[in-house]
Amino acid sequence: MSAELLERYGVRMLEGLLVTVELVLISVTLGAILALPIALARLSPNLALRGFSFGYVYFFRGTPLLAQLFLVYYGSGQFRHVFESIGLWWFFRDAFYCCLLTFTLNTAAYQAEILRGAMASVPRGQREAAMALGLRGPVVLFKVILPQALIVALRPLGNEVILMIKGSAVASIVTVFDIMGVADLAFARSFDLSVYLWAAVLYLILVGLLSRLWNFLERKLTTHLAVAGVRA
């Protein structure tokens, strides 16, 4: 790990770290927002909604993230004229936005499945009691079902965020200068493997911090269970 290498690429590595954090943060958040309607559609009595959401989830969970990324990035380049005519080319032109879109769609599928499983695990009686109290649909969802579902979903959702941090590395393959992108650049100039070790350290720090954050969240959100003696 030569000092010269650090001096040349140290700052860029940190910039790459910022890009990775941006990619993951934005896509996970947007994905979470998208996941709720999809999860509800999966549980809906409407066949069309169920079918469409099932297909969506099946596609994005059953195909590799890299293939999805190529589909969006190179595929959108093919339809440049279409996008230009509807004024959206500025979005698909940028590799960062293409990655953002792909990652969002991908994580939304995984999060929707987690959420669906969690919601299904909330006892039927909860919903029935809420309806018996005369509460309306949205209120039942947001005040009764979701809070309980989120506690079950917390662990898997944390896992999904970690998977997204790792998955985001493929952005480097389509010219985005995230951690891996900068590492590739530095390796191409120096042939020094230690640049990848630096990248590894950065990813380990990211994942480590996130795990801590998630454990903290878990403890805070389940305090009521601890008090009741259910949780340790």
Partner: protein, 253 residues
């Protein structure tokens, strides 16, 4: 006593083996090339490696009286694969640079290259200096001198790097980058083809004296000398000229 003898025996064996390794007789030379860089090296429809680089390498091997085999390797890993022993020489339009010389050795040059910008025909770019291209999106193949040049000199522009030259041209055609910096040979070929109809050269060549050489491992000085000698021979006896003519109407030496 027994242990002592085993130790001496193995030491002798090791010395003999390493001795043999250094005084290597070159009967076959494995040549590494990219295979994705027309007209210098590419894979034809039969899956065979063709191109200027391949022809030069074959001519050199003939003069050196060795058998040559070719290995295709992705550009990004082409030097690490050489140092790891996957092949013995790189003949892939590789520019001789100080940075690369820290890791490998080069023979004398076997042609001269220029770096030029390519842009869409309807571009508003007139000035290809760093100031003129400030704020623009520029593309190049990663691990090349073009990429290095952009990184070092064009700090005010956005730079995008691609695993192959074709990917860079693809993004230029689709409008993701405003201009691509590349070697003049491949750009010329691409612009003449169907996919390059959108674009044209823009501005003067930014580098005109880029020397292209054959890369060998630092310890293979004998191989390097063999290549240099053979290179001088094919230039002297007209073989080089014949190969040059096959691909370019002007001399690229």
């Amino acid at each position: 006593m027994r242990t002592m003898r085993t130790i001496i025996a193995s030491a002798v064996a090791l010395a003999v083996l390493t001795g043999l390794a250094s005084a290597k007789e070159w009967t076959t030379v494995r040549i590494g090339t990219e295979g994705a860089y027309p007209p210098f090296n590419f894979i034809d429809s039969n899956g065979e490696l063709q191109g200027f680089d391949v022809d030069i390498a074959k001519a050199l091997c003939e003069k050196m009286k060795v058998e040559c085999t070719f290995v295709a390797q992705d550009w990004d890993g082409i030097i690490p694969a050489l140092t790891a022993g996957k092949y013995d020489a790189i003949v892939a339009s590789m520019s001789i640079t100080d940075e690369r010389k820290q890791v490998v050795d080069f023979t004398d040059k076997y042609y001269t290259n220029a770096l030029t910008f390519v842009a869409p025909k309807d571009t508003d770019i007139t000035d290809v200096s760093p100031q003129g291209l400030a704020g623009k999106m520029l593309g190049a193949q990663s691990s090349t001198v073009s990429a290095q040049f952009l990184e070092d000199k064009y700090g005010d522009s956005d730079i995008k790097l691609y695993p192959t030259q074709d990917d860079a041209y693809l993004d230029l055609a689709s409008g993701r980058v405003d201009a691509v910096l590349a070697d003049v040979g491949p750009s010329n070929l691409w612009l003449a083809g169907e996919d390059g109809q959108c674009c044209a050269f823009v501005g003067e060549a930014v580098v005109k004296d880029d020397a292209i050489g054959i890369a060998v491992r630092k310890e293979d000085t004998d191989l390097k000398e063999m290549f240099n000698k053979a290179l001088a021979e094919i230039i002297a006896d007209g073989t080089y000229e014949k190969i040059n003519e096959k691909y370019f109407p002007f001399s690229i030496y």
